[in-house]
């Protein structure tokens, strides 16, 4: 683990990604304490204030302090995207590994069905699911999870298949090991690394998808300070108060960049060849 960290920090991507995400993590944990104002309190006198010493990121159409909203909103945006990725990762890994292990017709049936589901654009799929479940942050998370599962299944299956063909698995089978031992102790540790790399990069997509759903009115709901929703609400005021939209938009992009960088850094750090 320490080894991985060392490699990560040494690569430029890993270092920058880690830095961005540490800042993001600080916001997630302590955003509410950093925020100088109540992110939801409105003020008729402080509407549309441009960024200034008093309001670092300016204020919005209801006179709310955008810096405070961005700080507090980090939690909703990042934690929920992480949650969606995590859930899809676990589900995908279980299905994918099982599919690879079972093989044969079951594998074929599962994979062809996953392919079929993947042919629906994930945004559209998520949109349908949220429409069914009702628009809320949690349902958006659920929708992203479901939309991400086929991709995760595919990846998990391919790495499991690769792991399954390794001689150490053959050795375990030849030795007479129990199935659960082979899956849990021999295969899983080797599957986890590439899946974690993939999942890290997926978090970036989850953040963007979540923001997009919020933008379409299907994710977080006002007055939540979720970044995608903030962009969506701010769009109407774009020409009068562009900072309202630019700031949360850049925040989304930065965190997405952070996860992309970290994912690439991890890929290198976890690659046995680079050791």
């Amino acid at each position: 683990m320490r080894d991985v960290m060392k490699h990560l920090i040494r690569s430029p991507q890993g270092a920058v990604g880690l830095f961005i995400l540490v800042v993001a993590a600080l916001m997630v944990c302590g955003g509410a304490h950093i925020a100088p104002y109540d992110p939801e309190s409105i003020s008729i006198l402080a509407r549309y204030k441009a960024p200034s010493a008093e309001h670092w990121f300016g204020t919005d159409q209801l006179g709310r302090d955008i810096f405070s909203r961005v700080m507090v909103g980090a939690r909703a945006t990042i934690v929920l995207s992480l949650l969606a990725t995590l859930m899809s990762m676990v589900t995908g890994a279980v299905i994918g590994t099982a599919s690879a292990y079972l093989g044969g017709k079951t594998d074929e049936a599962i994979m062809r069905t996953m392919d079929a589901v993947m042919s629906i654009p994930s945004l559209l799929f998520a949109l349908l699911i949220v429409s069914t479940l009702g628009q809320s942050s949690f349902n958006a998370v659920l929708a992203i999870t479901i939309a991400f599962v086929p991709g995760m299944v595919r990846i998990a299956r391919s790495v499991s298949l690769a792991a399954r063909q390794q001689d150490y698995v053959s050795a375990a089978i030849a030795r007479g090991e129990a199935t659960h031992y082979i899956i849990l102790r021999e295969m899983l540790p080797n599957i986890v690394a590439p899946i974690i790399v993939e999942a890290t990069i997926r978090v970036a997509f989850a953040i963007m998808l979540f923001a997009t759903l919020s933008f379409l009115g299907l994710g977080a709901q006002p007055p939540e300070p979720e970044w995608g929703l903030m962009v969506s609400e701010a769009r109407a005021y774009f020409f009068n108060a562009p900072w309202m939209m630019l700031i949360p938009g850049v925040a989304i992009a930065l965190v997405a960049i952070g996860f992309n960088l970290l994912g690439d850094g991890l890929r290198d750090a976890l690659n046995p060849r680079s050791h």
Binding site: L62, S131, Q135
Partner: protein, 531 residues
């Protein structure tokens, strides 16, 4: 010229084709309700030209009797005609009906049609078509939005080819105005009786324009009807209705000159449009409002003190800023404002948190009250109001959780059923229309279930009289009751906003929001030529 002034029941009520009333409307700033600022617009109308008008949502329903939203009302008005139509000051004027008169008891109305009317397919339009059309609207099977909005019609008969007689359920002074309802359009009897689905693909009306092409999500093109009953109109050769679902996109298109006129402009876009050169911003005070409906028959809103306490938390002027960017008027918890006749001008309610808290305590909520306010996502101002109310009501002891939901889900599960939700209504043609649509115990959308007998009696009495003085008194009483008892919180009215290029002449923004009269519009010589 409007016949309802100085009225006596026996008086012959005649429509007029002359435009009136624009000057009587309340103005705000230097913004006009009509495009007329251009110098050469004062001249006489020029013939010809193509007008490109943008709308903010698809006009899915081509069938005029099924129209529900402004773009569909626009199409219905371009392609069809009704018996009457609404003037700028909410009076009825002649459309297919040349003139009309009421029986003494205001229960029977006789409409005389113009001569030689014809549909776009060349067939004649007669009283039989009118009868069939009105019956089609009233037929619950067709589920026309007009069913409950064209007055309490009991019978429709056609004694001869030019005459239609309508019997109402009880005296009803506003019938000609109600018949101007945008869905009350006349369609061929054969279609009304048998195959209304034909009208979702084609348009066979008597309107000033004929349908050329129909792509509901994108572009609808109509061209001048050479056989329109008024040979002087329309002035335009063609109108192209372009759909822009995004407000910024729609504004930018007008600024770029891709479009000539907007049917409506979002309040957030209005400042930008006003600043752009070559664009005339249009604004008119209207009775369109946002409210918060409370179920007056269920806890906690069955206690009038709770409703009054909530009303005392609201800074109404600030609300106008929050939800309408200041383009509106503050409300006093009645559905009427300066845009309506018989408006009762009471001093504006001011926030008073101490009093609100006291009222809540009296009502049995000394520790405040937890509420869930439901707001549909369309239009987004509903949510804005919800959030503003949530914050404004905090010091008064209300802890409001705002829950947004998809409009369709809201319609299915909350509307008329919920106890605390945000509503949004267009201006109605008459005070009676709005009262008896929303607040009387027999109202078709009795959302608040306030069911106040005193209020019901006043509204009914006003409906049955044509005497303005009496009406003023009765409607004043009704407004006072709502003001005091707050069945629904009505903090803000919206001005209607739009914008057009400076070469568009003759367009007037109508406070009702569903009347457009593009047959009066013409383009000055400055207008670019469109193919």
């Amino acid at each position: 010229m409007c016949a309802m002034k100085g009225v006596n029941r026996r008086q012959f009520i005649a429509g007029s084709t002359i435009l009136t009333g624009a000057a009587m409307l309340p103005w705000s700033g230097n913004v006009a309700a009509a495009v007329s600022s251009a110098t050469d617009a004062s001249g006489s109308p020029r013939k010809g030209g193509v007008l490109r008008i943008s709308v903010d949502q698809a006009a899915g329903m081509l069938n005029p009797q099924q129209a529900r939203v402004n773009p569909e009302y626009l199409l219905a008005e371009l392609l069809y005609s009704g018996l009457t139509r609404l003037t700028q000051d909410m009076k009825a004027e002649a459309d297919l009906a040349e003139s009309w008169k009421a029986s003494d008891d205001l229960t029977q109305w006789t409409f005389t049609l113009r001569k030689n009317l014809s549909f776009h397919d060349g067939s004649a339009c007669t009283s039989a078509d009118v009868v069939a059309s009105l019956n089609a609207i009233l037929d619950p099977k067709n589920a026309s939005p007009g069913q409950h909005n064209i007055g309490p019609i009991k019978t429709v008969t056609a004694p001869d080819a030019d005459t239609v007689v309508i019997g109402t359920d009880g005296p009803y002074a506003d019938l000609p105005v109600m018949l101007a309802y945008p869905d009350a359009k006349i369609i061929p009897a054969a279609i009304a009786g048998g195959q209304p689905e034909r009208l979702s693909k084609e348009a066979i009306g008597t309107g000033p324009f004929k349908l050329v092409s129909f792509e509901p999500e994108r572009l609808i093109v109509v061209e001048r009807n050479p056989h329109y009953y008024d040979p002087s109109r329309p002035h335009l050769d063609r109108v192209e209705v372009v759909v822009y679902p995004d407000a910024i996109a729609e504004g930018s298109a007008l600024i770029a000159g891709d479009t000539d006129l907007m049917l409506s402009a979002a309040s957030t876009e209005f400042a930008r449009l006003s600043k752009s050169s070559g664009i005339v911003p249009l604004r008119v005070s209207s009775g369109q409002f946002l409210n918060v409906n409370m179920g007056c028959d269920t806890k906690p809103f069955n206690d009038v003190r709770v409703r009054q306490a909530l009303a005392l938390c609201v800074d109404r002027k600030a609300t106008v800023d929050f939800v309408a960017e200041g383009y509106g008027t503050a409300g006093n918890d009645t559905p009427l404002n300066t845009a309506y006749p018989y408006y009762l001008n009471e001093p504006l309610k001011e926030p008073d948190y101490a009093k609100a808290k006291a009222l809540l305590k009296d009502a049995g909520y000394p520790d405040g009250l937890d509420l869930t306010l439901i707001a549909s996502d369309k239009p987004s101002t509903r949510t804005q109001l919800g959030i503003a109310l949530r914050e404004m009501a905090k010091p008064g002891g209300f802890r409001i959780n705002v829950q947004t939901m998809a409009h369709s889900t809201y319609l299915d599960q909350v509307w008329k059923k919920g106890n605390f939700y945000v509503g949004f209504y267009n201006m109605q043609p008459t005070p009676d229309a709005v009262f008896s649509l929303l607040y009387t115990s027999t109202a078709s959308w009795n959302e608040t279930r306030w069911n106040n007998t005193e209020f019901d009696t006043a509204v009914k009495a006003a409906r049955e009289t044509a005497d303005p003085a009496k009406r003023t008194e009765l409607y004043g009483k009704a407004q006072k009751l709502m003001h005091d008892q707050v069945p629904s919180l009505i903090p803000a009215f919206f001005d209607l906003l739009a914008a057009g290029r400076d070469y568009v002449a003759g367009y007037q923004l109508h406070p009702r929001g569903a009347v457009f009269r593009l047959d009066h519009v013409w383009l000055t010589a400055k207008a670019p030529t469109r193919k």
